[in-house]
Symmetry: C2
């Protein structure tokens, strides 16, 4: 039986999994993220159990080099994470087993899973926004993962400071100028001196968070005109948030530009916490036909 | 001799032109923009002079329907402009002469010309931002004009109000929340009670304008990672502006993300005021091969 592999390479843990031809998960494990070589040794040991893997999809925390023309294609780029900057992630895997790989970012993997989830729908362009320890987005435009001079870092767009918010910001580069600086989980915790998980539904924190995420939705909408914006990551687990985002988005847009109905447009993840792994499987499959 | 046609359909004037196979302009005229049928009658009368036009590229002021699956494909959509809302622009032309047309927005036409200008370069993705009576952008991603649920209206992205700026904004929908509201030519004139053309180089107006345009460049950069951002339209004619934008962009980004060298990245138009017409010719050519 032919198998596909998935490596969801996160900053704190790696999720490894194998599925059959129908994308049913047949095995799955989690290894903690250490330095590059140590972690990858565990990854390859895991996949050594399966000698019939046709292809592997890899969705890695960034920044990574996605440009096939680049000399450092497949490398992890400049990152403060010990033992990762300049590590040849994809090269390590190819050296272990020379099969087709699909190499992309973690958010691109999840975006692809959300896009494929609605594969028979009218959705051709989609933004997957994750709001967790960091804020990032995977973007699909007309069925293609968007990439350019590098991959997007769409958590670092400019926002307008909410007048009720006096927090100085959490982005090491842009402080309170960018979305990540004011809207990530750690920004919320730092601002309110309380974990986002523990903030009451009535706390003004949610109104402010919704304002920032609605601003982001407006900026993505005017630039990309996607068919859907999906909110993933830890913070949007809070059910109070999405209705507030839709309300604020409607106020901000003020009737400008047609969008799908907001209930279908600004939505929670369809694949839950499996989005990353599923995206890797789908991408592994497409790496096979490409090869 | 086979010819190509161009219709640059602006809100105040239409530029009509014809070129030969090598994209040399052989004739050109300008007609004022009246209502839809009146203006289009003049357009077809002009092109009646040439019986050997293979294809025409049309770059129209928006909003227009660019979705070939839509029942109103080729129409001008909701606009306050008298005699245009719901006008079947493309249908009128096809009814006149059934040749291939490339139908797109004015900014997409100019973006395509700027993209083609560097056709043999490394530029695969490009943003053409026009700052004039309105603010708008045409976006090329990996050699394709970006479009989704509708065409981008990337002049209406969220900006952060400059602390020195107390102007209430010029966008009828978003006031001072969006780029167009604070950075268009009329916004400058309204704020300073003086035409942008007449403001001295030393006026603080330029520092504020550069702040907003640098913010826009940061947002486009983090979402799209283009190879180039081109500044067109009336306001960037002022030579004081671009160096200020580059300086402010570097401050805002604070070393985050690789971009091309800023001298090659944030640039004035390469095609000057011919960008719109040239884009139409190139697109007309591609409509022929598509047909
Ligand atoms: N149910 C929840 N409600 C609000 N915030 C949450 C919730 N779950 C996680 N978070 C916040 O999300 C952040 C972690 O993000 P998460 O997406 O879970 O992981 P990571 O980004 O590290 O992969 C933390 O700051 C945490 O406070
Ligand atoms: N040289 C210039 N310097 C500064 N502003 C200019 C200049 N030329 C035109 N503008 C401003 O640009 C606006 C007109 O934009 P333009 O791009 O020329 O036309 P349109 O957008 O109508 O096609 C006006 O508000 C005008 O003040
Ligand atoms: Zn940032
Ligand atoms: Zn606006």
């Amino acid at each position: 039986m032919a198998l596909l592999g998935a490596i969801e390479a996160g900053g704190t843990k790696f999720i490894l999994a194998v599925c059959d031809e129908n994308f049913n998960i047949i095995d799955r494990t989690v290894v903690p993220t250490e330095d590059g070589p140590t972690t990858l040794a565990k990854v390859t040991t895991y996949f050594d159990q399966f000698d019939n893997i046709d292809a592997i999809g890899v969705a890695a925390f960034g920044p990574v080099d996605l440009n096939p023309q680049s000399k450092t294609y497949g490398y992890v780029l400049d990152t403060p994470k010990p033992g990762w900057a300049g590590f040849d992630f994809l090269g390590y895997l190819k050296n272990w087993r020379d099969i087709p790989y699909y190499w992309t970012t973690d958010v691109n993997g999840s975006a692809w899973a959300e896009y494929r989830h609605g594969a028979n729908s009218e959705v051709k362009s989609l933004v997957y926004l994750t709001v967790g320890t960091g804020v990032g987005a995977g973007i699909i435009v007309n069925g293609q993962i968007l990439s350019g001079f590098g991959h997007p870092e769409a958590g670092h767009i400019i926002i307008s400071k909410n007048p009720k918010d006096h927090y100085l910001g959490h982005c090491p580069f842009h402080h309170d100028r960018c979305l990540e600086g004011v809207a990530s989980g750690p920004a919320m915790e730092d601002r309110w001196q309380q974990s986002a998980k523990e903030l009451a539904d009535e706390h003004m924190a949610w109104e402010i968070e919704a304002d920032y995420l609605a601003q982001a939705a407006m900026t993505y909408t005017t630039i990309l005109r996607p068919d859907k914006i999906v909110f993933g990551g830890g913070v949007p687990h809070r059910e109070v948030l999405l209705p507030l985002i839709r309300k604020r988005f409607a106020e901000l847009m003020a009737g400008y530009l047609a969008t799908p109905d907001l209930e279908d447009y600004l939505v929670p993840v369809a694949n839950g916490d499996n989005a990353g792994i599923l995206g890797c499987f789908y991408l592994a499959k497409s790496a096979m036909t490409r090869a």
